[in-house]
């Protein structure tokens, strides 16, 4: 995979292998995943549930549920340092200050017992050693920047007094507190109303533009990703099956799974458009065949697909596909 932007990437994941131990064997949740994110860019990570998007995010922060999950191979380079090799104490400093994360469900992302403002500013007190008063001042500024009305008065509210959209703003403010260089947004709008989704995406885009941070936007909704991302990586069965500039991947998909995702997404601009679901089920990750994981559901597959191991390979400059026969896709 070649980067779309010149220079060394801020985050580079190389051939990441993550396995979960389960009762009857091993589930390979991440199978040789590679991904590069440059400073200031937004990379969309798309795929259905269980495709390994969240595992990737949590592996970057080294917060996989151990000992069930284990990193079996690969490297996670952040600004040139291999995060997987860092001591835990050093890693903890990186979390929250260099890399922060926003979760799917804002209703449960805050502790129910403390005021929202305290939780937004906790990072400032922990990592920057700010006093309560100084943190409060910055917290109010953060709340204003994330579009929370009347921050001074709402600082001492408790989470249950707020709506989901407001809470997601608070969670974003909490993640932004120490001005991270990379924000991992794990389905940040999935739990929200459609109208609120738009606002949150706009907020993330604006914060990113203002701060110049990089962002990984995880979503199962290709529409969400299409709007906001510079580049897209499509994941399937623990692999990145296609990656490239957003316009390229969405306009000229070179992997049948991407094509299937696009065909099964509703479109607003075409009322007569028929949804075209992908047949079959995602494979059981405990027993993946030697060949292409998508072969069983693929309309273009031939004999070789079931046998030959697939790898991400360039189909155009900056645009890679893990399909053996990308030329078949039209």
């Amino acid at each position: 995979m070649s980067p779309g932007i010149e220079g060394a990437p801020l985050l580079e994941v190389r051939d990441l292998e993550v396995s979960f131990r389960v009762r009857d064997g091993e589930v390979r949740a991440s199978r040789g995943v590679s991904l590069a994110v440059h400073a200031g860019e937004t990379v969309g990570l798309v795929g259905e549930s269980g495709s390994g998007k969240s595992v990737l995010c949590r592996a970057v922060l080294r917060l996989l549920p151990e000992p069930a999950a284990q990193v079996k191979g690969g490297r996670v380079l952040f600004d040139g340092t291999d995060l997987l090799a860092l001591p835990e104490a050093r890693m903890r400093e990186i979390r929250g200050t260099d890399i922060a994360m926003v979760f799917q469900n804002p209703m449960t992302s805050l502790s129910p017992v403390w005021p929202v403002g305290d939780q937004i500013t906790e990072g400032l007190r922990v990592h920057r050693g700010l006093s309560r008063a100084a943190a409060r001042e910055q917290g109010i500024a953060l709340m204003r920047a994330t579009g929370i009305p009347e921050p001074g008065r709402r600082f001492d509210d408790h989470p249950w007094q707020w709506s989901g959209g407001m809470l997601q703003r608070a969670v974003i403010a909490m993640a932004m507190a120490c001005s991270p260089r990379l924000l991992l947004a794990d389905e940040p709008t999935t739990a929200l109303d459609v109208t609120i989704q738009e606002q949150i995406l706009a907020l993330l885009a604006q914060l990113q533009a203002d701060s110049g941070m990089a962002m990984v936007l995880v979503s199962h909704d290709i529409g969400v990703v299409a709007e906001t991302c510079d580049r897209i990586a499509v994941m399937y069965a623990g692999m990145v099956v296609e990656s490239g500039p957003a316009t390229e991947v969405l306009g000229n998909p070179r992997h049948p799974y991407t094509l299937g995702l696009l065909g099964s997404s509703p479109r607003v601009d075409d009322a007569g458009h028929r949804l075209d679901p992908i047949p079959g089920q995602p494979p059981d990750l405990a027993q993946v065949s030697a060949g292409c994981p998508f072969a069983a559901r693929c309309g273009f597959a031939s004999e070789e697909c079931h046998r030959t191991q697939v790898r991400l390979a360039d189909v155009a400059p900056g645009h890679a596909s893990a399909c053996l026969f990308p030329e078949r896709i039209r």
């Binding site: 917060l63 994360m101 979760f103 799917q104 992302s109 502790s111 008065r153 707020w162 709506s163 609120i196």
Partner: protein, 292 residues
């Protein structure tokens, strides 16, 4: 964006207190009322009775209840009512320490194990399994037999066994809590583990331990009374309910009152604590039901 025009301005303190009181169930009110009366009676014992709990008066031995001695006197002429009042101090203090020191240690260890997992969790759970494999009372009697009777040794013996319950409870609650998003969020933001434990998770897992501690308190008072009855507990002549019941058992035929009032005090205290525990279950559980 927000659901309602936020909350009304914070109510004045008196209004908030009234709102809090309105959420107390009858059992919580009655239980706390009883418990408060018992504590006050213990505190103000010297003003409530003219007698000395330790002074012996052979001229007034084995007097039946009457205007001078409301609950009679024991075999060496001590006023039963006075001793039962002073025993509040002994029993509640012992009950407190035998409940809350194990609770503090057990909850912290169990919560840490549930959050960190790994070898610490494995070792802790095996230790707890071993301790719980013995019958509770037998283990305590064995420990006391080794250490010898006395208040301090009771604390040690009950502590050695008692913390395991809280550790188990806190660990199992923490296992559930640790998988919740807000704990994960705190970890992704790089907060130290002890901070996540104390500030984020503990307030959300402590309720079950608090409720359990109420029934544990009762059990511990009964345990100490039982140990004193067996002669392993509080040494004479310190007034203690269990010991008083034991002293009275030889005179059951002639002087039923010696054992009765101390026994009644144990029952009343037990009922008070049980009511408080019951009420707290509702009051603290309340938040989980109505909130978020």
């Amino acid at each position: 964006m927000s659901t309602a025009p936020a909350s009304p301005a914070p109510a004045p303190a008196s209004g908030r207190l009234r709102a809090e009181l309105s959420r107390w169930s009858p059992s919580l009110r009655i239980g706390l009322g009883l418990l408060a009366s018992i504590v006050l009676a213990g505190l103000f014992a010297p003003w409530l009775t003219p007698y000395d709990p330790l002074r012996q008066d052979y001229g007034a031995a084995l007097l039946s209840p009457g205007p001078a001695h409301w609950f009679g006197t024991d075999s060496i002429g001590r006023d039963i009512f006075t001793r039962a009042l002073y025993a509040i101090r002994t029993d509640l203090v012992i009950g407190f320490w035998t409940t809350y020191v194990p609770m503090l240690v057990g909850v912290l260890l169990g919560a840490w194990a549930g959050l960190k997992r790994g070898w610490f969790d494995a070792v802790l759970m095996r230790v707890i399994d071993t301790a719980l494999a013995f019958p509770f009372l037998v283990l305590i009697i064995v420990i006391l037999a080794i250490l010898g009777p006395g208040t301090h040794n009771i604390y040690i013996a009950v502590f050695l066994v008692g913390w395991t319950m809280y550790a188990r409870l806190a660990r199992s609650e923490m296992l559930v809590e640790a998988s919740k998003d807000y704990v994960l969020a705190a970890r992704t933001l790089g907060y130290p583990t002890w901070r996540i434990l104390l500030r984020h998770a503990l307030p959300n897992i402590i309720n079950s331990s608090i409720v359990f501690s109420m029934s544990d308190f009762v059990l511990n008072i009964l345990l100490v009374s039982g140990l004193s009855f067996l002669g392993l507990g509080v040494p004479a002549p310190t007034p203690e309910w269990g010991a008083m019941v034991a002293e009275g058992k030889d005179f059951m035929q002639q002087a039923w009152w010696i054992s009765t009032l101390p026994g009644l005090m144990i029952v009343i205290t037990g009922v008070a604590l049980a009511l408080v525990g019951d009420g707290l279950t509702y009051r603290l559980g309340d938040r989980h039901v109505t909130g978020h």
